[in-house]
Structures are given as C-alpha cells and as structure tokens.
C-alpha cells in the first residue's frame, strides 16, 4: 500500500510537500499503525501526534483522503492505495502532521468552560445536587474529546479567523445547560454575541458529521443562537429601563 504523507520542515521548507511511502501493511492496521511503522522502520523524521490509540484522547486528528479523521480509528482495510495523509485543515502547521492548536485553546478559554456560580459556596455547605434528567440535558455536549476534527470540517473556520468554532461553542453550551452553572448570561454577552460568535455559523452541519463522539456541535450552536437572541432581547429591554 502507498501512503502520500504531507511533510513540512519549518527550517527548510517553504510549503508543504507530499512524500510517498510504500509499506507492507497488516490487515488489522489503522492509519496510526502505518504511521508508527513508518517512523520506526522507514523514516524516523516523520512527526505526528498520537496517544491512546482508541479514539478517546483526540490527539491523532488529521486529513485522511481529504476527510478529517482520527488516525487510530481509520483502518487501512477500508481505504484504497494511495492514501493521502495531511495535517488537519484550517490550522497552521508546525511540522509534518503536527498542527498548532493554541488557537483552539484561546477560543476555548473565551467561553469560560467551567462552572460559574454567582456566589461561590464552600465545600462544607454540601454538594450541588443535580437530578439525572438535568444531567441528560447537557451530557451529549460533554463528550467532546477536543480532537478538533470539527474545526477542520467547518467552512466558516476556513474563512473567518474570529469564529469561535464548533467545539468551543458546544462546550460553552454544555456549561450553559448545566443546572449548576450560573454563568450563561456572561458567556453569551462576552463570547457568543460579539463578532465571531455563534451567528457566524451557517449550519453546514459538517462539524457534526465528522465528530467521532457524536457530540453534535451543530445542534449546540443552533440552540445557543436561540438562547443568545433571547439574551440580546433581554439586554435591550433592560438597558432601556435602566436608562
């Protein structure tokens, strides 16, 4: 089987270039297994991220035949030679298949992905109770493994640098739906309503299609749009009455 792998050495290359590798694969190999074989036995300079090998850490996201996939759960038996492997789209590339994801972490921080309470209570005051049906309301959006495949699939991320992106909004929505959280208003005003917030999304639904954990970030974003409209209307009315 032939793999055409994207290479980029920042000290030498101007642009990405494609390098062919001919391998003899085992029938049960994933793309990640092939990459590890290449690094171990063929070309030790090949650089890529990986960790758990079981679709839970989110490290091995890359473009496989033009689709954002996790390399550990994409199997060579389902692909035809040549297999094109490239770094995750829409991200700056540091080296070979390794992308710079600080941009994602910055966007994630913008949505304040933690429980926000109006008044912090001490642990001794007892636990914050939550019924199973309240957990069920946000559970799906909490399954995100931060693999960033949705960013590589989103057509808006490709053209609008300010856009928060699917995972960040979905994680923000997860906290907005959490009954223990009281920071929804702040999140909407600071992160979701300004330019690059939820209204940049055009509901292409690509993010939900590529998500390996069925988080359905597109649903989260559309729900968040409605919630942001309510918040916007509320803030209009309130600011008028305050004046």
């Amino acid at each position: 089987m032939e793999l055409l792998i994207s290479r980029f050495d920042p000290s030498r290359d101007e642009n990405l270039r494609e390098q062919p590798y001919e391998i003899t694969e085992r029938p049960d190999w994933s793309v990640l297994d092939a990459l590890n074989h290449i690094k171990d036995d063929v070309d030790p300079t090949l650089t890529f991220r990986w960790s758990c090998r079981m679709e839970i850490c989110g490290s091995c996201g890359m473009m496989i035949n033009g689709e954002p996939r996790l390399a550990c759960s994409t199997f060579l038996r389902d692909l035809q030679s040549p297999v094109r492997v490239a770094p995750l789209a829409h991200f700056p590339v540091i080296r070979d298949l390794v992308i710079e994801y600080d941009g994602f972490l910055d966007r994630l921080r913008t949505v304040k992905p933690w429980i926000i309470r109006a008044k912090e209570s001490a642990a001794l005051e007892g636990p914050q109770r939550q019924r199973p049906e309240q957990l069920e309301a946000f559970r799906q959006f909490s399954l995100c493994i931060n693999c960033m495949l949705c960013y590589a699939a989103c057509p808006v991320v490709a053209r609008e640098p300010e856009f928060l992106g699917p995972a960040a909004i979905a994680i923000g929505r997860r906290y907005d739906l959490d009954s223990r959280d009281e920071g929804a208003r702040m999140r909407r005003q600071d992160a979701f309503l300004p330019q690059g917030g939820v209204f940049s999304c055009t509901y292409a639904n690509e993010c939900s299609v590529v998500c390996p954990k069925n988080v359905d970030p597109a649903a989260a974003i559309q729900q968040e749009k409605l919630a942001s409209v309510v918040e916007w209307a509320r803030s209009l009315v309130l600011s008028r009455s305050e004046d």
Binding site: R159, E160, L193, F199, T202, V229, W232
Partner: protein
C-alpha cells in the same frame, strides 16, 4: 458597515428561521398552483380571478398571511444568500454583498407593508 450588519444579526436570524417555515408551508403550494396546476388546466375557472384574490387579501388573516409570505422569505433569502456569498467569495465580500441584500429585503418589506395597507 459590517459592524452594523453584525449588530442586527440577533434580530435577523430569528426572522430567517421563521422564513424557512413560511417558505416550506406556502411556496411549494403557490408554485404548484400558478405553475403546474395552471398549466395542467386543473384549476377552477375563477382560481386566479380578481374577485377571489381581493376577497382574500382584504381580510385581516389574508393581510397577515400575505405579509408573512413576503417579508419572512425576503429576509430568509437575503440572510442566506449573504452567508453563501461569504462562503464562496470570502468573508471580505460581506462589505458590499450584505448591505445590498439587506437593503433589498428592507425595501421589499416596506413595499409589502405599503401594498397590503393600500388594499
């Protein structure tokens, strides 16, 4: 200008969403009646007559339906086309595509209000 466009986004987006319902429930039937059915000759003789049309359009629910069938799809189309243009031509195209489309939608809405008022 794009700042203005973005500032009214929380107002336009729900109208865009409501526009989908207006399009889904009214437009196929309208296109079928004035297109396919009229061509096939299966419409009653007075289906598109002035009396019938004015009789419907001057009732309060008639005015409401007509307003909804014009204004909501206008904003739906303008909003949707604006974002499609950004997808195909880049976000920078919004500098003139957005204002043009929203002006068309706004003028159309005013014209619809005037047209329905003078019935």
């Amino acid at each position: 200008m794009t700042r203005w466009l973005h500032a009214i986004e929380p107002l336009v987006w729900p109208i865009f969403g409501a526009g989908f319902f207006a399009v889904a429930f009214v437009f196929p039937s309208f296109a079928a009646v004035v297109g396919l059915c009229d061509l096939a000759g299966c419409l009653p003789a007075d289906a598109l007559s002035f009396e019938r049309a004015i009789g419907f359009a001057t009732t309060p629910p008639g005015r409401l339906v007509l307003a909804g069938a014009i204004v909501l799809p206008l904003w739906n189309g303008a909003f949707h086309l604006r974002h499609t243009a950004m997808d195909l031509l880049g976000t920078g195209s919004d500098r003139f595509v957005g204002p043009v489309l929203y002006t068309v939608a706004a003028l159309g809405s005013l014209a619809a209000a005037a047209a329905i008022w003078r019935l």
